[in-house]
């Protein structure tokens, strides 16, 4: 008969033995069963690290990490869309590749679908008008407000653009003041300058 302390020691020691086993993949089976409501990944870019999130409908969120922190962005997504949020870089292969190409200057439009569910009403109309501004050109807050059905709503249009959940791909950096001033930007005006420089073909 083994004494109890020897037994307890042996149990603890044996439990430590398998500590470094690799953890099995969950993304594949979760996706097959349609349990992956939100997949996210990060991407390094000339405007800093981006967090990208995708739903079954399409890309739903791009966040500038730095101005925003990863945990709060994920918390917001969990509350607004679904708590079934998992890190799944492979689910974001095409947005990541297309964004890389965009920053390299070899892509002028994005092909992946967008999920607009984090926008609504006037804000959504402003952002959808913004999405039509051609690459390498700029428009004005007043113009966007007008296209969204409220010609006197420049300030409201500015707020909607400041809350853009999909910066870069919904190019709110292409919206400037009528007097030529750059205006604000969701990730800070330095990032706006970099994006406009990319589209002018400047070397970064």
């Amino acid at each position: 008969m083994t004494d109890i302390e020897t037994l307890e020691r042996a149990l603890r020691a044996a439990a430590q033995a398998h500590d470094d086993a690799a953890l099995p993949d969950l993304i594949g089976p979760a996706d097959d069963r349609r349990l992956l409501d939100l997949a996210y990944a990060t991407l390094d870019s000339p405007v800093g690290t981006l967090l990208l999130a995708v739903t079954a409908r399409g890309l739903v969120r791009i966040a500038y990490l730095g101005p925003e922190d990863e945990q709060s962005v994920l918390d917001e997504l969990a509350t607004a869309i679904s708590p079934r949020v998992l890190a799944a870089p492979r689910k974001l292969d095409s947005p990541r590749r297309e964004l890389d190409e965009y920053f390299a200057g070899t892509r002028r439009r994005f092909e992946f679908p967008l999920d607009w569910r984090l926008t609504r009403g006037f804000g959504r109309r402003v952002l959808q008008a913004t999405a039509r501004i051609p690459y390498g050109t700029v428009s004005t807050y007043k113009q966007m407000a007008g296209e969204a059905g409220s010609p006197r709503g420049s300030r409201a249009a500015g707020n909607a653009l400041g809350a853009n959940p999909l910066p870069i791909v919904v190019p709110c950096h292409r919206v400037v003041h009528a007097d030529g001033g750059l205006g604000g930007y969701t990730g800070g005006v330095e990032r706006k300058k970099v994006l406009l420089a990319v589209e002018r073909g400047d070397r970064l």
Partner: protein
Amino acid sequence: MKLPPFQALLDAHGRDVHRFLLATVGPGAADDCYQETWLAALRAYPRLRHATNLRAWILTIAHRKTIDHFRARRRQPMPVEGFAERAVLRDGALAEAETVNGRSDLWEHVRALPPKQRTAVALRYVFDAGYADIAATMDTTEEAARRNVHEGLKRLRTEYTP
């Protein structure tokens, strides 16, 4: 109900769930049980009514998956030639025929314990869990948790020689 992103749970408890399963169902079945545990958790997660003690919640699911695993094994028809090695132990649990370097692994004896003793012993010695934690995970009283560990150890003492 505000629930944290599921990834936070996985980051915090993924390794522990795997360790628990390695101990309770063994290396051969741990990966399958791990996936089943987390998929069941992911399915149920949005309906969860409170986010307190999510660790106990996920380990409870893992505990149920170990019971399913041993139940399914019991139903599997056994080849005649394998029968001697896979002797049916008390409560119908099967002894794992796996050995490490030809030596019988102490945790194999734990796997052959009745389900409640098996889980209680695993929680106690894999995580150094207190009886209150074991009780919360297994939805029993602290008294019952203590008894499950004690009974498990008593049986192991007679069956295991180092």
